[in-house]
Every structure is written in structure tokens, then in C-alpha cells.
């Protein structure tokens, strides 16, 4: 067997620099509002993201009501419908998923898991949240300006985005672009923090190859985001200029409803390239943290090390790198040079290989495990089901010629919801059930959790699995109503109504989940500091919830990787990362190799 990272060591290098004094809050305001503590910022980020996510959820209900029962709801006209789908998409992808995974989970877990007292730049970290909050408020404001929010689709393709045939093409689109620019500014501040903290803030003994995969996933995703978001930033600023100053970055000569506009010479395709240069890595910005976290959930609850840790790390790096050269697979039928299709189809299908390996390693971790079917484990299993399903439909859409009939149909909607909506959200739920005891000191209610799990998993699967087949039929996406056609049978409308009913049910079960979050805060069972008997550092804090500075007087020293579960000969079926080898009783191993270097 290859030399793996599970070998523990006696020797840990002495600290090279003294610990720096941590910022201490002096008042309630600096402790809980303008806080510089990453854990408080994490909760602020998460609550804001969940709040705006609820708006996104309600918007999905409204759009599904229109699709399922086209003639019943007179208050949903075409203009509103397009505004609903646009805001739903943008909110869910950027303001919920990105913010929750990086701003929420990243802030909470990076310092705790790498053994740091806080982020490296706490003040900048605080600014990151407040700018994010302003971005969200600007976004919400766009609902209240004249003409309403933009209805250009979340992809915001020019020229229509800023022309009068599109809802919200005045105030709505301006606020949308300003909000995105603000979001990116705020994210950059946080993102730099996450990367630098992983690189510079690790405690003694915590080598990169001993980091839990949760940290690896968030780390790589943050690097992607730092490199990808600038493309969107540039696009948003140029489009603002086109809208407000009359420039023509993305605007060719246009005749709108018989009238010559004063634009000319710009390129609509340029915006699409900029958008997807951001947009495709964005998929992995959401997916990689989920990949990392789910690896840890599976490992802890199957009481087994993650299978092929090093392969898992390199797969994350490979997927991250490849994700920058696949963007134009969103543009196979955009009218770009058709020869691009050969290159982008090839890179896109290559990315399936490291991704498939991750899936294999997740299920191989279950093999010969000791599987505890806790709520986090259930969500992890459901993640694998939905991710495998959404991943293989990606092989349809990535294979350029297969994409031609399927693009812009409901197949695409079903695919990306399954792979980057449902699958990452299941991981988010799983991790909330997993870490809530550490964050609050109480367990979430099991009964409500089971209800939430089964309704969400089976309901979401029942929504999106059959939706693919509407796409095969040729039902286009972004249609206010399909109306009379010669190729869509009436039964498709029945299926659509079924999907709408399921959407309402699954949405309702999220209310149960939110109630559980609040109820358990006061009435939940008191949690053990390490209820799942996990190895990683966040479970080894002296206080639960962890106090200011995370680790009490002395930072932990790390002696081993994060996955010493069911090690033969050990007393317990887990060995915390900071447990010195001398304390692992019944240790049969020969003297560790690296000790010789002393």
C-alpha cells in the first residue's frame, strides 16, 4: 500500500511565531452586531442567506403555480412570471448557496477545523458580511422600484436585459447589477480571508494533507470564486454603462419594434463568455464545498476513514482547474464558432472522470463501514442519489451534439436543479443536523428531522426526475405558458400540475425544518460536546458552543489526519486529530517514521 497520511507522529515542530493578540469585543454591539468573530459572522451570513432564500422559495411556488395551473392565477401575468424565475435563480445561486457555503460554513468551520483562533483578517471579515447584507438589501429593493425587478432570466443576456421588451429594464436591472457588484466586493474580502487562513492560520501539525475534506472543498471553491467573480464584475459594470451611459459594449445595431436605436458595434456574445467564465466555476463554487462536507459526513457516520483521501483532494483540485476551461458548454447553441464545440465537449466530459471518482470513493467508504443511519448520514445518502442522477444528465448536456435538442428545454432545468440545487441543499441540511449541536449546544429534534428528510428527498426527486422527460418531449424552459401546440400532449400538463403540488409540499417541509431550528434552540436535548464521536478539531473545543478564540488557553497540536476511525487496536473507534500518540492506548503501531528526524 502506498504511503498514506494516516500515520501519526510524535514530533511536531515548535511554533515559529508567537500567537498574536486577538481582537476582543468590548460591548454587546461589537460582540453580536459589528462582530469580528468568524463564528458570529458565519451565523449572520447564514441567517441572511436563509432569509433571502425563503424569498427564493416563495418565488418558486409562484412560478410553479403558473406552470401547473396556467389559467387559475390571474395575478401572475407574463411580466411577473419572468421576474419570478429571474429573481428565483439569482437568489438561489448567488445570494443563498454561495453565501451560505462560503460565508456561512466557511467562516464557521475554517478557523475551527484548521485550529486557528479566528480568521486572519477579522476586520475585513466583518466588512465582508456588511457589504453582503447591503447587496441583499439592494436586491430586495429592486422588488419595490417602478417596473419591478428584472425579468431577463438569471443569465441577464443582453441585448434584451436592458431593452424595453423585458420587465424591469429600468430600475430593476440597475439595482440587480449594482447588487451583484456589491456582492462580489463583499465576497472578495471574505474569500481572501478564507484562503489566507487555510494557508497561514493552521495550527502546528496541521499539514495541508491532514486538513478535513470540508476545508479542502471550501478552500478550492473560494479560490475558484476569487478568480471567477471578477469576470461577472466586469460584465456587470459594462452592462451598467450600456444601460446608463449609452455605451455599446454588448449592444450591436438594433431595431426595436421598428425603431432604430443608437447602439452599435457591441457584442452580445462577449457578455455570454464573461457570464459563463464566472457561471461555470460558480457551479463548482457551490458543488465543491458540498463534496468536501459530504465526505466528512459519510466518514464520521460510517465510522470509517474516507476512502482514498489523497485522490479526493487531487480530484477537488483537478475539478477546480478544469472548471475554468469548460464554460462555453453553456453556449453550444449560442451561435459562437461551432468548432469551439469540439474543445469544450472534450474538456467537459473529462471533468466527469475526477467527479465520478469522488462518487466511487463515497460509496466505497460505506463498504465494510459501520453505518449509523443518523440524519446527517441520511442526507448524505440522498445527496449521492441526486448527485449521481444530476451528474449523468450532465453527460448528456456536455456532449455537444446531444445538447442541441435538449438545450433550453425543461431537461436543462431538471438537470441543474438536481445537480446544483437539490444535491448541495441536501448537504447543507445534513451539515446543519450534524453541526447544530456544536453551534448551539443542543440537538435538533429527531422526529421533525425525519419528516423533513423524507419529504425533502423523495419530494424533490419526484419534482425533478420526471421533469427531464418534459425536456425530451421538447417543452422549452422560461415559457410563461406552453399553450396550444401540436406536439405536447395534455398529459404533460397533468405532470406539470403534479410537479407543482410536490413543490408546495417540499416547500412546506422547509417550514418544519425552520421551526425545528428555532424550537430546538430552546427545547432541544442538551448536546454532548462531541455527540457523533468525530475526530476533527471543532469537536475538541473546551467549550460548546466554542467561545471567543475557539480553543481556550493553548491551541491544539495535530498529530494525525482527520480520518482515524475504527483504527485496529485503538480503544475507541475514533482518534481525535489532537490526541497525542502516547494517549492512544493499545497502540500496536511501530515507532512512527518521522520521529527519526528529531
Amino acid at each position: 500500500m502506498a504511503d498514506v497520511t494516516n500515520r501519526d507522529i510524535d514530533y511536531v515542530a515548535p511554533a515559529e511565531v508567537e500567537e498574536e493578540e486577538l481582537y476582543h469585543a468590548h460591548s454587546w454591539i461589537t460582540k453580536y452586531v459589528f462582530s469580528q468573530d468568524a463564528k458570529v459572522i458565519a451565523i449572520q451570513y447564514s441567517l441572511t442567506a436563509i432569509a433571502i432564500g425563503l424569498v427564493g422559495l416563495v418565488l418558486s411556488w409562484l412560478m410553479r403555480l403558473q406552470l401547473g395551473f396556467p389559467d387559475y392565477f390571474s395575478f401572475i401575468d407574463a411580466e411577473h412570471y419572468y421576474q419570478f424565475i429571474t429573481m428565483h435563480g439569482m437568489i438561489m445561486v448567488v445570494y443563498l448557496l454561495t453565501a451560505l457555503f462560503l460565508g456561512g460554513f466557511g467562516n464557521y468551520f475554517i478557523p475551527l477545523m484548521v485550529g486557528a483562533r479566528d480568521m486572519v483578517f477579522p476586520y475585513v471579515n466583518m466588512l465582508s458580511f456588511w457589504i453582503y447584507l447591503i447587496a441583499v438589501l439592494v436586491l430586495v429593493a429592486s422588488f419595490f422600484v417602478e417596473g419591478g425587478p428584472t425579468g431577463a432570466g438569471w443569465t441577464l443576456y443582453p441585448p434584451q436585459t436592458i431593452l424595453s421588451g423585458t420587465p424591469g429594464s429600468d430600475g430593476g436591472i440597475v439595482l440587480m447589477l449594482v447588487s451583484l457588484a456589491l456582492f462580489i466586493v463583499g465576497f472578495t474580502m471574505g474569500g481572501l480571508n478564507y484562503v489566507v487562513t487555510v494557508l497561514q492560520g493552521r495550527t502546528r501539525g496541521m499539514t495541508m494533507m491532514r486538513l478535513p475534506l470540508t476545508v479542502w472543498g471550501i478552500f478550492i471553491a473560494t479560490i475558484l470564486a476569487l478568480l471567477a467573480f471578477p469576470a461577472l464584475f466586469v460584465g456587470a459594470i459594462m452592462m451598467l454603462f450600456d444601460k446608463l451611459l449609452g455605451t455599446s459594449f454588448f449592444m450591436p445595431a438594433i431595431v426595436e419594434l421598428g425603431e432604430q436605436l443608437s447602439y452599435g458595434g457591441g457584442s452580445p456574445l462577449l457578455f455570454q463568455h464573461l457570464f459563463w467564465f464566472f457561471g461555470h466555476p460558480e457551479v463548482y463554487i457551490v458543488a465543491l464545498p458540498a463534496f468536501g462536507i459530504v465526505s466528512d459526513l459519510i466518514s464520521v457516520h460510517a465510522r470509517k476513514n474516507i476512502f482514498g483521501y489523497r485522490m479526493m483532494v487531487w480530484a477537488l483540485v483537478a475539478i477546480g482547474g478544469l472548471s475554468f476551461i469548460v464554460w462555453a458548454h453553456h453556449m453550444y447553441v449560442s451561435g459562437m464558432n461551432p468548432y469551439f464545440g469540439f474543445f469544450f465537449a472534450t474538456t467537459t466530459l473529462i471533468i466527469a472522470i475526477p467527479t465520478a471518482l469522488k462518487v466511487y470513493n463515497w460509496v466505497l467508504t460505506l463498504w465494510q463501514g459501520d453505518i449509523h443511519l443518523t440524519l446527517p448520514m441520511l442526507f448524505a445518502l440522498a445527496f449521492i442519489v441526486t448527485f449521481v442522477n444530476g451528474g449523468i444528465t450532465g453527460l448528456f448536456l456536455g456532449n455537444v451534439v446531444v445538447d442541441v435538442p435538449l438545450s433550453d428545454t425543461m431537461f436543462v432545468v431538471a438537470h441543474f436543479h438536481m445537480v446544483m440545487g437539490v444535491a448541495p441543499l441536501l448537504v447543507i441540511f445534513g451539515s446543519i443536523y450534524h453541526w447544530y449541536p456544536k453551534i448551539t449546544g443542543r440537538m435538533l429534534n429527531e422526529g421533525m428531522g425525519q419528516f423533513h428528510f423524507w419529504v425533502t428527498f423523495l419530494g424533490a426527486y419526484a419534482i425533478f426526475f420526471p421533469m427531464h422527460y418534459l425536456g425530451f418531449l421538447g417543452v422549452p424552459r422560461r415559457y410563461y405558458e406552453i399553450g396550444e401546440t401540436m406536439f405536447v400532449p395534455d398529459s404533460a400538463q397533468t405532470l406539470s400540475a403534479f410537479i407543482t403540488v410536490m413543490t408546495l409540499i417540499v416547500g412546506f417541509s422547509q417550514v418544519v425544518f425552520l421551526f425545528n431550528l428555532v424550537w430546538s434552540l430552546f427545547h432541544g436535548e442538551k448536546a454532548d460536546p462531541n455527540p457523533w464521536r468525530a475526530t476533527t478539531l471543532e469537536w475538541q473545543t473546551p467549550e460548546t458552543p466554542p467561545g471567543h478564540g475557539n480553543f481556550g488557553k493553548a491551541l491544539p497540536i495535530v498529530y494525525r489526519w482527520a480520518y482515524d476511525y475504527s483504527v485496529p487496536g485503538a480503544k475507541e473507534d475514533f482518534i481525535p486529530q489532537n490526541m497525542p500518540p502516547s494517549k492512544v492506548s493499545g497502540k500496536k503501531k511501530t515507532k512512527p517514521r518521522r520521529a527519526k528526524r528529531k
Binding site: 502506498a2 441585448p159 451561435g335 461551432p338 471518482l357 460509496v363
Partner: protein, 282 residues
Amino acid sequence: MIVAFVLLLVVIGSVGFHLISPWWWTPIASNWGYIDDTINLTFWITGFVFVAVLTFMAYCVFRFRHTKGHKAHYEPESAKLEIWLSVLTSLGVIAMLTPGLFVWYQFITVPDGADEFEVLGQQWMWSYRYPGKDGRLGKTDPRNVTADNPFGIDTADPAGQDDVLVQGEDLHLPLDRPVKFLLRSLDVLHDFYVPQFRAKMDMIPGMITYFWITPTRTGTFDILCAELCGVGHHAMRGIVVVEEESAYKDWLAQQPTFAQSLAKANAGTRRVSTLNAGGSVR
């Protein structure tokens, strides 16, 4: 136990749904049967992986669920297994990608002698232009667009005078002749999409894009816009009629040329100005 059973049920249910689903491709009406074949091949390969991975997972959940005294096996990694799995996955990917790229090459390579015609998209209607007797389409520029010249044809280009213009009517195509769709938009992005043709392509203002097909059966099909183009996107419909070549030629002969429609418009303008003159006298 229940969990493993439900997981298995999800696999069986998915495969079952696929087999009995009444929602499937519309019967094809073009030469792109190869696209359908590539999709079916992709279904077989990915379907196998889907069933294999999830059944294995369900088995693990059943077989290795926690019981008292049970302990997990300790095995960090297996380079051999991982290499094998990488190789098998790569083979699967190659098996899907290779035919896909071959068919893509055919899709973007228009056969010599294909008929050309133009589809013009604007919010929210379709118009069509055929090259007329000289077999060439006249030059266009959106700056030329006026009420009398809705296609923006260059009046100085002789090739444009005999172009046949079809507005507010169905599109007609001859059976069994390869045809290249030249796609143009005046305002925003559109996408010319006929589900039975299996082909679609965006239309971009300032550019001419294309795709080609050979219609393989007669019939009447829906044209949809497949790229969000504003509040009337879902209502941007049209109809294409595929018919025998003789019927197609008869239909085409009845459509006005650019020169004819210009003359008619001019005559109309003269009449209007006469009326106006009369009005001012009165």
C-alpha cells in the same frame, strides 16, 4: 433496512418511469437520427452506472448498517482499485464522446448544394426570406430597416431585388432537400427551434448564425423561440410546413419579391400622399 429498501426503490422507480414514460421524443422529421442514437447510447452507459452505483450503495447500507459490536474495516485507500475505476470511467466517457463529436462534425458541416434561406427573428415574430431566381440573398443591414423594408435589405444590391419575402405566413420547406437556415435577429437573442427537427440555434443581432437539416417527412410542425427574448417570448410561435417539392414551388411562386413589395409600398405611399394633398385642399 427501510433506508436501503427505499434507496433500491428509487433506483427501480427511476428505471421503471423511464421505460413506461409516455413523455418522450416527438417523432423525428429530419436527418438527425444520429443525434437520437447518441442520446440512446448515452442512456445505456449512464443508466448502467446509475443503477450500479446506487444499487451498490443500497447494498452497503443494508449489509453494513450499524449493529451492536459491529466495527468498520480500516482501509485508507487502494491505488489499484482507483486506477481500475479511472480507466473504466475514461472508457465510458470515450464511448460517449467519440460518436458525439463525429455527429457534431456532420451537424456543423453543411453539404454542398444545400438550399439557403433566411429566418429573421424580432420581438415577437418570425419572418423568412428566400433567395429568388438568382439563388443569392441580398445584403442586409439593420440600419436599412424601415416600415417598407422590414428585412433591412440593401436596395443597391441587385441580388436583393428578387428575394422572396414571407411575413405573417407559415414557413414552407421542400421534402428531402438539405437546407441551410441562415439565422438573423433585429433586436434581441432568439432561437429557432422545431422539436421534430432536433436542431436549434440562437439568433444574435449583428451576426448571422446557421444550422442545416434535411426534412425527412411531410407534415406541419410548431416553431418555438428557445432563447428568452422578453415578455412575449412564450408567444413567439410559428408553423413550418414540409411538403413535396412541387407543392413547395407553387407556394413560393405566390410570394412577393422584395422589388414587388417595394413597388407596392411606393404605390401605397403615393396614394396616401395624394389623399393627403386632397385633404389639405379641402
